[in-house]
């Protein structure tokens, strides 16, 4: 009905199913404790149960799709000449790429029962580190690798603090937010670091178009697709749901909860590193001011996408639809010459409406 983690009874109930979930992955000792040996089926059932509560999830997706369609209609009506052009639609995707990639990582972390407040700062840090003079003189490949390593490394630190240092995710990543921003400022001396002309391969990611679509959009699509497969088709994904739903049950089921947690934050950091590459391509700079308040945008997108902040349940498709809704709003406001302050109000209203609708969606089947 509701979350595994809510009542102890439910927790016990869920334990075995969690076990079976992990059975294909190799957890055996607890697996024989309960019923049928067909590991996948019960998990499938649980997925089905998820589906039952996820039924509204699908409705929620429909709601988001409806919102997108509605917004697009507004666009077509108010800006008939400008909105429905391939240039504009591709432009929206390119704008969504940065925050979209970050949101993929955030979705994993939140489904896994945590939160990552450091994403914007990590992106800034990775972009600054990758554009330092030292790194730039080794060429674009080193810059890309650097951004990814810095992002993943910082994510690992987050994960260590949370999984092994037993810090609350909110605190650990808040500390990282502040520290990473400071480090980025220190490294760049608070200057905007231009990507130097000899590294134009970086800039080419956003200027080069394949089939009219800039490469950064393909990066976004690739990250989203890889994220979807990882979340829905692998043991890693199932463990993520299990750890987020009920860590104790997951642990009893033989899942290494700490290692899983560590991996989730590293994954989020990796996404920040990739986002840093995109922002470097788009702005041709690395700067400590990049990614300001991205953590809030990403969390908002995940929430309106239908993922529970308490963990254990959620979808990547929803998160990405959430990102697109926000980007579309920005686009519509600017196309129609409305000011950014009104945009913020609209975003706030949408977050509230989305969450109210979700609650309704949860209640109605029960």
């Amino acid at each position: 009905m509701t979350e595994a983690g809510i009542g102890p009874g439910k927790g016990v109930d869920d334990g075995p199913s969690g076990t079976r979930a992990d059975a294909p992955g190799g957890g055996t000792e607890a697996g024989n404790g309960s019923g049928p040996g067909r590991g996948r089926l019960p998990w499938g059932r649980r997925n089905g149960a998820n589906g039952a509560t996820g039924g509204p999830g699908e409705i929620r997706h429909l709601g988001l799709v409806a919102a997108l369609v509605l917004l697009a209609l507004v666009g077509v009506v108010t800006q008939p000449d400008n909105f429905a052009t391939s240039g504009n639609l591709v432009g929206i995707l390119a704008l969504a790429a940065t925050i979209g990639v970050i949101t993929v990582g955030m979705t994993f972390v939140i489904i896994g029962g945590g939160i990552d407040l450091s994403v914007g700062a990590l992106m800034a840090l990775a972009s600054v580190w990758a554009t330092t003079l030292a790194t730039q003189s080794y060429g674009p490949v080193v810059m890309v690798v650097c951004a990814i390593l810095v992002g993943t490394g910082a994510g690992l630190v987050n994960g260590m603090l949370i999984a092994y240092g037993r810090l609350v995710p909110f605190i650990a990543t808040l500390a990282m937010l502040v520290a990473a921003r400071g480090l980025a400022q220190r490294m760049s001396d608070r200057k905007t670091q231009l990507v130097r002309p000899e590294n134009d391969a970086i800039e080419a990611l956003s200027t080069t178009k394949v089939l009219g679509v800039p490469l950064v959009v393909f990066i976004f699509a690739a990250v989203a697709a890889a994220g979807w497969v990882l979340l829905n088709r692998t043991t890693f994904g199932r463990r993520t749901f299990a750890v987020g739903g009920n860590p104790e049950a997951a642990r009893l089921a033989g899942i290494n909860v700490r290692r899983q947690t560590l991996a989730l934050y590293a994954l989020s950091g990796l996404c920040c590193g990739i986002a840093a590459i995109i922002i470097m391509a788009r702005t041709t700079t690395g700067s400590s001011t990049h990614g300001d308040l991205y953590e809030l945008d990403a969390i908002a997108a995940v929430i309106i996408g239908g993922t529970l902040l308490t963990g254990g349940r959620g979808t990547l498709v929803g998160s990405i639809l959430g990102v697109l809704v926000f980007t579309l709003i920005t686009n519509l406001f600017i196309l129609n010459g409305l000011q950014t302050s009104d945009q913020l109000i609209a975003k706030g209203v949408i977050i509230v409406i989305a969450v109210l609708l979700q609650r309704r969606g949860l209640r109605s089947p029960t």
Partner: protein, 352 residues
């Protein structure tokens, strides 16, 4: 009239060049550029002996955190000028964007009993009270750029001309469009932070100047002075207007992002004017792309403010003026940098 305006302008340029050289000296390690610039300084302050060491003074300095090229250049300019004078002890406090912190930093300077204060407040309205406190304690405040509403809160104000910036940009845009013979031009404006009075003044000046040509702004949108927001807003604006004739971007730092967006969209049909006068923008102007001009809002004002604070603390006046004391307010001119004069301005440009 015409004859007259020329030398004075050159003088001002000279003065600026000196300040810039000072900035360069701070950026590099050696003192060489400063040495070579020194004679020009004398020429700039015609007749004054103000540069000679006088009474020893301590000058306190507080400004926002330098996470923006222009603000970073402000602090550097002030520092470089302080170093030029053996009679000045420079006392900067930690830069911050937190108004609460800036207030207590200024309070600490007041209790340290400095001889003069140079203050670039995060927000003039919100720092007004503490500046007043300094003045009441007998410490002259040189208000840099963002003005305090209360005239009792500062001895002298020195800053850029935001309205004038808009006017300069508007005149350039209007003149170019008239030359081209464009009848109903699409003119787009990308502002800085919309809530700041300085942004509103810039926009007003721009609109007023355009009006003299019979033009008006087609669309305007605010970014947040960062590269990233500049890129975002410009990307969307370019979609909104398939054909643009002219674009004014208020700030060269966010202009890096705007230019990147223009390039990504592959647009070349319009010309663009920037604002502030960063070295990067000047290099773009020189190389002859979409960015044709930028209007100055030079951070060298900080160096000038420091010099003014020194004179006030020493009870001196300014050369070239009849007055016994430093004037109450000094508004810098906003100049237009184009391909024709960019070489003269390049040494003044600040790196973003």
């Amino acid at each position: 009239m015409h004859e007259n305006s020329r030398p004075s302008r050159r003088n001002m340029l000279f003065g600026g060049a000196v300040v810039a050289a000072g900035g360069l000296a701070a950026a590099c390690t050696g003192n060489e550029p400063e040495e070579t610039a020194a004679p020009a300084a004398q020429a700039g302050n015609a007749g004054g002996d103000n540069d000679k060491p006088g009474q020893k003074v301590t000058i306190g300095f507080s400004a926002p955190a330098a996470d923006h090229g222009w603000i970073a250049a402000i602090t550097k300019n002030a520092e470089a000028q302080a170093k030029r004078y053996s009679d000045v002890t420079f006392k900067p406090v930690e830069p911050t964007n937190d108004i609460n912190q800036q207030i207590s930093a200024v309070e600490s300077l007041i209790s340290a009993k400095v001889n003069a204060l140079v203050l670039l407040p995060n927000d003039g309205e919100q720092l007004n009270q503490v500046a007043r406190k300094a003045m009441d304690a007998g410490i002259p405040v040189v208000n840099l750029d963002r003005v305090f509403p209360d005239k009792l809160s500062y001895r002298t104000w020195i800053g850029g001309d935001n309205y004038g910036m808009g006017v300069a940009a508007g005149h350039y845009v209007g003149k170019r469009l008239k030359e081209k013979g464009v009848a109903n031009p699409v003119i787009v404006e990308i502002q800085g932070i919309a809530t700041l009075p300085l942004t509103q003044e810039r926009s007003k000046g721009f609109a007023d100047a355009l009006k003299t040509f019979g033009f008006s702004v087609t669309a305007k949108q605010d970014a947040k002075f960062t590269v990233e927001t500049g890129n975002q807003v410009a990307s969307n604006l370019l979609q909104a207007h398939k054909k643009i004739d002219a674009l004014w971007n208020h700030d060269d730092d966010q202009g890096v992002g705007v230019l990147a967006a223009v390039k990504q969209a592959g647009r070349k049909e319009f010309f663009m004017v920037g604002g502030a006068g960063s070295a990067n923008a000047m290099r773009e102007i020189k190389s002859g792309g979409v960015l044709e001009a930028t209007v100055t809002y030079s951070p060298t004002m900080a160096g000038s403010a420091l010099r003014v604070a020194r004179l006030i603390a020493q009870g001196k006046g300014m050369g070239d003026l009849m007055e016994q004391q430093v004037p109450q307010s000094i508004t810098l001119a906003s100049e237009t940098i184009t391909r024709q004069n960019v070489d003269r301005y390049l040494p003044l440009g600040f790196e973003s």
